[in-house]
């Protein structure tokens, strides 16, 4: 135990004197600036709708004027409307003809308008006509919520679990390799090999150092964004498991390389694959079967759930993380022993 503590203190000192670790602190500061001053709670797209009311008696114009609706402008003819759309491609134009009972709408828009938005406009127009005809739209359908209803997560806060996973947790993947390459270049690993300390303490001390630094950064980030209203007792073990997992993975892969320029391509590859779970978080309908087996998924999913609880049980994710850690440690121990501790073996 004293050997582990001794090596842990050494690794912490090396970590604090490593420029890459301070780079991580720099990115956290940049994130905090973006969070507080640049990224808003939500993005609001204001779309001005231009109406041409060709109905008899301009019934649409009269109805909307009475309701004091924003972002709606009535113009006199279709040619003017088309010219406006051509000039401002993001705007939408609607031509209304017929009567309340037999309405005909023509939606005029630029090429960049998404199909979903066009459908939303169609549905809104339908509801509006039904309301004008005195039909209650709310009576036609009902909504049933499964599980507890939760407040939507503001978009700037939604970035926190993503940042924690890809900056704090995954940084150990990069940092563990940086450490190993420095030891290879300095030859200090050779000096370590002529001590009675062994592979396990070598791996664990480094992992504990990465965990310490990662937890400090994570707490700093959370306290300066969300505040104290977080279940830290649940969050810290998940962060520890995530940091350890990527630390083991980083050390395992780094045994095959000798410097950071060779390794950077691996980092890019791992990063790209590991970022796929972000899409699952942002677009829940994107959840291919393999996504849960990407090591970043259980970490990202669990961190998001702990920071913004929806009542989902995290047991499965925790078991997955623990299982991945056991496999990753076993592989790391084997490779470090074979390729680092026994030269020529």
């Amino acid at each position: 135990m004293s050997k582990l503590f001794n090596l842990y203190v050494q690794d912490m000192k090396l970590l604090l004197r490593n420029s890459f670790a301070w780079l991580m602190m720099g990115t956290i500061i940049i994130f905090l600036i973006l969070y507080h001053f640049v990224i808003t709670d939500s993005i609001e797209h204001e779309i001005t709708m231009y109406f041409v009311d060709n109905s008899k008696g301009h019934i649409m114009e009269s109805a909307l004027e009475g309701r004091n609706v924003d972002n709606v402008v009535f113009i006199s003819n279709i040619e003017e409307l088309e010219q406006l759309i051509l000039d401002k491609e993001t705007q939408v134009g609607i031509v209304f003809e017929g009567t309340i009972h037999e309405p005909r709408f023509t939606i005029v828009h630029g090429e960049n308008m998404r199909e979903e938005n066009v459908n939303l406009i169609r549905a809104s127009l339908r509801n509006m006509i039904l309301n004008m005809a005195g039909v209650s739209v709310d009576a036609q359908y009902s909504t049933k919520f499964l599980g507890d209803r939760v407040e939507p997560i503001p978009q700037n806060k939604m970035l926190i679990p993503i940042f924690l996973t890809y900056e704090v947790v995954m940084f150990s993947f990069f940092l563990s390799a940086v450490f190993m390459f420095e030891e290879k270049a300095e030859g200090s690993i050779k000096a370590y090999r002529i001590t009675p300390t062994g592979t396990a303490i070598y791996i664990v001390s480094k992992t504990l150092a990465f965990i310490t630094k990662g937890i400090v950064y994570a707490l700093l980030l959370i306290l300066l964004t969300i505040g104290f209203e977080v279940n830290f007792l649940a969050l810290i073990p998940i962060l520890m498991l995530g940091i350890a997992l990527f630390g083991f993975m980083g050390m395992s892969i780094a045994t095959f390389f000798s410097n950071i320029s060779e390794y950077i391509f691996v980092v890019m590859g791992v990063l790209i694959i590991s970022m796929l779970p972000i899409f699952t978080i942002l677009i829940p309908s994107f959840s291919p079967f393999y996504i849960e087996w990407i090591p970043s998924f259980p970490a990202l999913y669990s961190i998001k759930e702990i920071l913004f609880p929806t009542g989902i049980d995290l047991g499965r994710q925790v078991i997955t993380l623990v299982g991945m850690n056991i496999i990753a440690y076993a592989l790391c121990h084997f490779l470090v022993t074979k390729k680092l501790m026994k030269e020529g073996a």
């Binding site: 004293s2 050494q10 050779k190 000096a191 002529i194 009675p196 030269e343």
Partner: protein, 284 residues
């Protein structure tokens, strides 16, 4: 105490041996010199003996126990000073020794005392990245002593040191020998070997070409000669006479009887001359 038997090592896998049928024994408390030029196989042999390289063929025995059977505790008893300065350059000299000491299961020496011994106390809190090559060499040597080893492996311990510091290191090695430490000294510095070693082995192209005490090697393979300075007709003259040569002996007698001899010195071959004679090559 240490027995190396028919040791081979092949890095290429094509039976091109860097170490080729090397055998020797080292007695307890002995300083054994392993001498040869760069690439002769000295460091490879040392790395096999310390377990850093896997034993491919042959045997290395410590008190009749094979190196292949040694547990990690074996490293509590040995100290290794590497030729290359494998130190944490972001740590200070003191930190390098302090944290290294914490990796052993046996009582260790005080890092500051060791730094003092090698003349680095004043630079103890300076980062190793700012050390000179000689300072790094000294700290690597100091580190090898941290666990009070019973066996010391020293790979070129005086390489790159100024004469005064090299002399200090040689004195420390002698002190460790007096304390009963067994020392395996790998070097191509014949002067250091001659000064420190009880026995030496000459290694060339992976093979041992000669092994004995430095004196015996010089006596056996060198030519005994006498250098005489005497007053001649045009000032002081200097001549060398080989004592194995009858004609030289007669000439020497003549000078002693008829000339005014100023100085007379017997002269044995140096270890380096002996090595060159045996291998046909120099030591660098």
């Amino acid at each position: 105490m240490i027995s190396v038997e028919n040791l081979y090592h092949d890095y290429t896998g094509k039976e091109q041996y860097a170490v080729n049928d090397v055998s020797f024994n080292i007695k307890k408390g002995e300083v054994f010199g392993f001498l040869g030029p760069s690439g002769a196989g000295k460091s490879t042999t040392q790395n096999i003996m310390t377990g850093l390289l896997k034993l491919q063929k042959g045997e290395v025995l410590y008190e009749s126990n094979s190196i292949t059977k040694m547990k990690s505790e074996f490293y509590n008893n040995i100290g290794v000073s590497f030729e290359f300065h494998n130190l944490y350059t972001k740590l200070t000299g003191y930190e390098n020794l302090k944290y290294f000491a914490g990796l052993f299961d046996v009582p260790t020496a005080d890092p500051m005392e060791l730094l003092d011994m090698v003349g680095l106390r004043a630079d103890a809190n300076k980062r190793v990245a700012n050390y000179s090559k000689g300072m790094m060499q000294r700290i690597v040597f100091a580190r090898s002593l941290i666990n009070n080893p019973k066996i010391l492996y020293l790979d070129e311990p005086t390489s790159g040191l100024d004469p005064t510091t090299a002399s200090q290191i040689r004195q420390l090695i002698k002190r460790k020998k007096e304390e009963g430490c067994t020392i395996f000294l790998t070097t191509h510095n014949m002067f250091a070997a001659d000064d420190l070693c009880d026995r030496v082995a000459f290694l060339n192209e992976g093979k041992i070409v000669a092994m004995d005490t430095p004196r015996n090697l010089k006596m056996k393979h060198g030519e005994k000669s006498v250098v005489v300075e005497f007053a001649g007709e045009k000032g002081i003259k200097k001549s060398v006479f080989f004592l194995d040569n009858e004609e030289d002996k007669k000439q020497l007698n003549k000078i002693i009887l008829n000339k005014e001899v100023q100085t007379i010195h017997s002269q044995e071959a140096t270890l380096e001359q002996t090595f060159i004679k045996l291998t046909g090559r120099g030591l660098i």
